[in-house]
Symmetry: C2
Subunit: 317 residues, 2 copies
DNA sequence: CACCTTATACTCAGATTGAGCAAAAGCCGG
DNA sequence: CCGGCTTTTGCTCAATCTGAGTATAAGGTG
């Protein structure tokens, strides 16, 4: 059971760096090329880096020139068959195993990036167009995804059910966090360029949505899912907003992340109730209508409560 | 930036394997010794294991003789200074870096374990006695933790605040998921045997709660926190319960996990409303009072809804 | 059979949520 | 400078959910 102490095991750090504005949520993509872009990646250097997070911050700054704000570990990928970024590991043996520890990072603005690494901010929905339901479900779901998945499922009840649950078919609700399930379903059902690349299958249908190198689109899916979930019980949005903002702007940023339209008055009411924001007294002009008050995030409120939950009615007395 | 292809980077898999009954939540501890027990651990073998999860299941079964049910990745630990399990890596260089990918595993019952690995089921609260609030806050919080933490904080406002938030002092609510924050605070404030072992400090106070090898108690804290959070939006409890159970039994299992007392009638009502369980018609005797109906988990309900959230009022029309 | 214990049913007020109506307050074109 | 357009903001209403209790049912036991 003991391992041969050779270098067949390589460890890298991947970063899903996100930002968002009133229009779109963005991810930082690098190494743009014919086969798609990749996520920022760097080998983990145990002698230079005391912790993963420090290592990550380090080379993100080195490669892109800006500082990460919020950072959290996402997931560690290590399945056999993952593609080895040869350029980063020139001396690695042929069949080396590459492990990637993926982190989620958030920056408040889409800082300009030195062109050196061919990096660019891209909307999430460039890679996952079926995830944007701000104007209702995209037509491609009913037009392409549903029929193709049903064709793939045949009369396999399990598969049909998975498809229904993932994409909210047949009257089931669309659940915005199920990004991974959806991507994996499309991958399995031979609807993504990655399916062809990795499995050699012919595509069952042409689906919009750009592929990425290696399994980076899967990592991105994990990040979106985490963020869409987290936004509901931790005020991570404020890591992406400017210092002050109107409630409409805030709402639009949240909508762009969740890919869902929100109810304006009730969003406002919720914000007021949980006291996550406070008015500055200043007004924003140029809204095209009545000027809106500018708000800022109230850090103090963080202390108060944890997440709400589904079924844990605690006794008080 | 490229790494020397040597074997200074080692990868292992750690497992936090939990179970629970009406009385306690349990964790599987191995290598019981003078310095405390450890979590089950095994080197990751890239040539033998296609995925981490398969590798984990493999050697858990090999070491303990039973099959894991639910498994999920928890976190990857890789800070400098982590202790190298020498026995597992006899040939590793002196200053090798050890990375551990920790998994959470759940088994429905505390199966008997072959004594070969000196493994035993232990209550969580053996390691974290301050986490059990089923009968109100344990006295040690007011008697030892609070004064010692305040002593440690001095007039550092940040520290005082962290302590208050973590332990629910000065009228702040006790938030059961903050297991990690609490453990780290106690570690930092020199109140755990690990603080002495790792940092060489003298303990500021003797606090109940057994230490573990290396940073295993931190891993355990991560697992508890994850589980206490997850239980509220995913029906993971049913991975630990027997096939059928009374509502009181179910409630007691949840209480043992959360370390909190729940309101009986409302727990029942919540269970009925969200339809997670269904009655079998059979009755359980020997409750000491009126016989209770036996229930079982309704897998179908899983499909319906996702988690509830704090502030995402979606527009329906 | 009274009594103890636990299970189950029901009630009630207050809070929260989903949905929509309406007034307020800038801007713009005539 | 005024009516129309747009967006913000305030408010209402019913339905549902939640926290907390009270009351009844139905076993076992001395």
């Amino acid at each position: 059971m003991n391992l041969p102490d050779d270098a067949s095991l390589l460890v890298g750090l991947s970063a899903v760096i996100v930002a968002a504005d009133v229009e779109q949520p963005y991810v930082l993509a690098t190494r743009q090329g014919d086969a798609g872009a990749g996520l920022p990646f760097g080998p983990f250097d145990p002698s230079g880096h005391r912790t993963f997070e420090l290592g990550l911050r380090d080379w993100v700054t080195a490669q892109t020139g800006f500082e990460l704000g919020y950072v959290e570990q996402l997931y560690t990928f290590g399945d056999r068959g993952r593609e080895l970024p040869r350029a980063d590991y020139p001396n690695a043996p042929e069949n080396a195993r590459i492990i990637s520890i993926a982190y989620l990072g958030i920056t408040p603005e889409r800082t300009e990036i030195g062109g050196a690494f061919n990096a660019a901010w891209r909307s999430w929905y460039y890679y996952f167009p079926w995830e944007d339901h701000r104007n209702g479900p995209p037509a491609m779901i009913a037009d392409i995804i549903e029929p193709t998945l049903m064709d793939w499922a045949g009369d396999d009840f399990e598969r049909r059910d998975r498809a229904r649950l993932a994409f909210g078919l047949d009257g089931r609700p669309w659940i915005e966090e199920r990004v991974i399930e959806r991507y994996e379903l499309l991958y399995e059902a031979s609807m993504t360029p990655e399916s062809r690349r990795d499995l050699g299958v012919t595509l069952r249908a042409e689906l919009p949505g750009e592929p990425m190198l290696s399994d980076h689109r899967r990592m991105l899916a994990v990040a979106l899912s985490r963020l869409r979930g987290k936004i509901k019980y931790r005020p991570v949005v404020f890591e992406m907003t400017p210092e002050t903002f109107t409630l409409s702007e805030l709402q639009q940023v949240v909508e762009s992340l969740l890919g869902l339209p929100l109810h304006k008055q009730n969003f406002r009411r919720a914000m007021e109730k949980n006291k996550l924001v406070e008015g500055t007294g200043e007004l924003s002009s140029g809204t095209g209508g009545r000027p809106a008050e500018l708000f800022r995030f109230r850090r103090e409120t963080l202390r108060k409560k944890a997440a709400l939950g589904i079924a844990a009615p605690v006794t008080r007395t």
